[in-house]
């Protein structure tokens, strides 16, 4: 690696069910300007732009980076589009970090967005594909059997998912940018309607409008701010949809992705050495599943960390301090929000949802039917 890479600017929109006050270009520009201001930069300072979003069919714009080039000040510059399903926000940030680490560009703006109020995700995710049964159930219907399998294998306490929902929504109350601000009790979550057993309504993520942007720079520009977040490890891993022995509850690609970043960042004991993590949890039960997949808990033990309150702010392994995907889900941006919120923690700029003294944080995203993973580790120290 030729260069160190630091995050020196982070910006995000206020995420809402519908940002009718902003067009799609307005949405991405809002996040980008906030990131530039945070980095004490202007459009002129940016060498290159890397953008990610979920399937083009959501908003009905093919290759939207072409259209959004103007809003992002990209004329005369490289603008690059990444698409790796739900993990795209993470993968996009990884590509941006590699442009800096590889010495290709020194100052890169990366961003991700989704405007679900102008999109139809349920339609776009439920096409009739020849020779395959039409899956009209959306993501919840796909993931519910995996969660049931997790519960059977680990004999998890049945309240685990509801506990995650309560915890993430409590965290979301601390985050003014979050879409949902819900002060819910365990009883209220448990009383919400069952959608896809065991996933209740209150255990699902919302559909949000939102965008997030980061400015990534090389060593010599990092001193523009007093608190850069240094990128210590990155990885993207993919496994096939179909192969004998595939374990979708604890996917090999996720485990390998975590191993890659721990190796690169020199981490041997994740729970001890990582202060907090922003993990892609679109349905509550994925918290314990990813705790195990990322090596924060032994297999079958993740749910105990949740039930013991260890994943709350102030706990041993705080997870999704921002409220996570459970509070905010602009799909294409959800992964980058995890990466950006991890960077905010180590920069000490997470305001009310700051983990005291956080120095090392992990950002995680996954996508598809758990085939695609992206992870990074950021640190306050170079």
């Amino acid at each position: 690696m030729a260069e160190h890479c630091a995050v020196i600017g982070i910006g995000q929109t206020k995420h809402r069910e519908s940002r009718r006050d902003l067009s799609i270009p307005g949405l991405v520009r809002d996040a980008a300007i906030r990131a530039l201001q945070d980095a004490d930069m202007t459009w002129k300072d940016i060498d290159s732009i890397v953008i990610g979003t979920a399937p083009d069919m959501f908003e009905g714009v093919m290759m939207p980076e072409l259209w959004l080039a103007d809003a992002l000040g990209a004329a005369g510059k490289p603008i690059f589009r990444v698409h790796t399903a739900g993990s795209v926000g993470g993968s996009t940030a990884v590509v941006a970090s590699h442009l800096v680490q590889g010495g290709v560009h020194e100052k890169v703006l990366t961003l991700a967005f989704e405007k679900q109020s102008e999109a139809n995700a349920m339609w776009a995710l439920s096409p009739a594909i020849p020779f395959q049964p039409q899956l009209v159930a959306g993501a919840g219907g796909y993931f519910a059997p995996l969660i049931r399998s997790y519960i059977r294998r680990s004999d998890a306490h049945r309240d685990t998912g509801c506990m995650v929902a309560v915890k993430d929504r409590q965290h979301g109350l601390l985050n003014p940018n979050a879409h949902l601000h819900l002060d819910q009790t365990l009883e209220q979550v448990k009383a919400s309607p069952m959608l896809w057993d065991p996933i209740r309504y209150s255990e699902t993520c919302p559909s949000s409008d939102g965008a997030v942007a980061m400015v990534l720079v090389s060593d010599k520009h990092a001193n523009r701010v007093k608190n850069p977040a240094w990128v210590k490890g990155t990885s993207v891993r993919t496994e096939r949809t179909f192969f004998a022995g595939r374990d979708q509850v604890n996917p090999a690609a996720g485990k390998l992705c975590a191993k890659d970043v721990y190796d690169e960042a020199g981490i041997t004991n994740p729970v001890k050495e990582i202060d907090c993590a922003e993990v892609y949890v679109p349905f509550s039960w994925f918290e314990p599943m990813w705790l195990e997949n990322l090596g924060f808990a032994e297999e079958g033990e993740g749910w105990k960390m949740t039930m013991e309150g260890k994943t709350k702010i102030g706990g041993e392994m705080p997870l999704n301090m921002s409220g996570g995907v459970m509070c905010t889900n602009p799909i294409g941006a959800s992964g980058m929000l995890r990466f950006a919120e991890a960077a905010r923690q180590v920069r000490g700029t997470a305001e009310q949802h700051q983990v005291d003294g956080a120095k090392v944080a992990l950002g995680h995203a996954y996508g598809g039917g758990s085939q695609f993973f992206a992870v990074w580790i950021v640190s306050s120290e170079r």
């Binding site: 009905g60 259209w67 005369g76 590889g102 020779f131 090999a252």
Partner: protein
């Protein structure tokens, strides 16, 4: 920066329709052939990256299915761009700069036969103000061609001459779709599709898939005698709205070519991704390529035009001429967007 080279290339012949082939069936033959040519398997590959668009098959996540054409167990380091495969090659090149891995597999696939491509490409336009007008790809290109005529930069006869040369070149290319001796005068007698574009001035629509293997430094030298070294590679975009650009030139291609170092030395061969005849003229001028440069010996996109793959094939064709020793210095190019909005240029060298 690390030295990175193209060390192998494989493609499916570009044809009007590859019937009854799904993503894995498109991807598996070209990726395995590209690796087999140099004695590699997926286990030897450090990073894999693909380019495709969901709008050709009309389904989300078509690239997810494509991964099943690879040996991705154990899980691989992999990424995807919703762009031509040549941009996947760019991401792989960036990844190799990181220094921890030495090889990358790049592939792309596209079946243009599955839908009305010119109309689908209207979806690249501004959805609020332009998409409702139904500005299909041929009509947009016709505006650009007419702008060239109005600026007295070219005539319809010039457009026809470009087509005749490309399709004559394609005679020697077994993977091309339209080839042969086409008379300029006969082309000028064709009715207009969208004035001033006649049928022959427009590209065919093709189905195809392609794959390239990249290798860094000594690893490239171990794999082939004469790697096609990527000496410069850069991409640039322009304002989106057609009215904000001078359509008779390409500022983005000019800038990308400068950054890639095209003008630093003599160019033997250029493979330009110019789907419409007049676009070749624009690109040649923008990149400073004179008449001594052998442009599109493969026949280019006027002879075979599989969306999402045509750009990666340009890189493969240019690399093959360097790998074989026929050329010492070659340009490879791809474009994306309406009327050449976004351009990627690379310079490949033999030694």
């Amino acid at each position: 920066m690390r030295d990175v080279a193209i060390v192998s290339f494989s493609q499916l012949p570009s044809v009007k329709a590859i019937d009854a082939a799904d993503e894995p069936e498109l991807v598996q033959p070209v990726t395995s052939d590209a690796m087999k040519q140099i004695g590699l398997t997926q286990d030897d590959i450090g990073f894999t990256c693909s380019g495709s668009t969901d709008y050709l098959p009309g389904r989300p996540f078509s690239f997810v299915a494509a991964v099943d054409g690879l040996k991705a167990c154990p899980p691989i380091r992999e990424s995807h761009v919703e762009m031509d495969g040549a941009f996947a090659l760019y991401e792989a090149w960036v990844r190799l700069m990181h220094g921890d891995i030495d090889t990358a597999l790049v592939f792309s696939f596209g079946k243009s036969s599955l839908g009305p491509v010119p109309a689908i490409l209207n979806l690249q336009n501004d959805p609020y103000y332009v998409q409702p007008l139904g500005l299909d790809a041929i009509s947009a290109a016709a505006l650009q061609a007419q702008a060239m005529i109005d600026a007295r930069k070219a005539t319809e006869r010039d457009f026809a001459a470009v087509v005749a040369r490309n399709r004559k070149n394609a005679i020697d290319n077994p993977n091309a779709q339209i080839k042969g001796d086409f008379s300029v005068d006969e082309m000028l007698d064709e009715p207009y599709i969208s004035s001033p574009l006649r049928r022959s001035f427009c590209p065919p629509l093709s189905d195809s898939a392609a794959a390239i293997v990249l290798a860094a430094g000594d690893r490239a030298k171990e794999l082939v005698k004469r790697p096609a070294w990527i000496r410069g590679i850069d991409h640039r975009t322009e304002p989106h709205a057609l009215g904000q650009r001078d359509l008779t030139t390409s500022q983005s291609a000019k800038l990308a070519a400068e950054k890639a170092g095209v003008g630093r030395n003599k160019i033997d061969v250029a493979e330009l991704h110019a789907p419409f005849a007049h676009q070749e003229l624009i690109l040649k001028e923008a990149m400073g390529l004179g008449n001594e440069v052998n442009v599109n010996p493969s026949g280019g996109a006027l002879a075979a035009n599989s969306l999402m793959t045509a750009g990666l094939i340009r890189f493969g064709e240019a690399a093959n001429r360097v790998l074989s020793g026929d050329a010492d210095r070659a340009v490879a190019h791809t474009t994306n967007g309406v009327c050449l909005q976004h351009n990627l240029v690379a310079v490949l060298e033999g030694e």
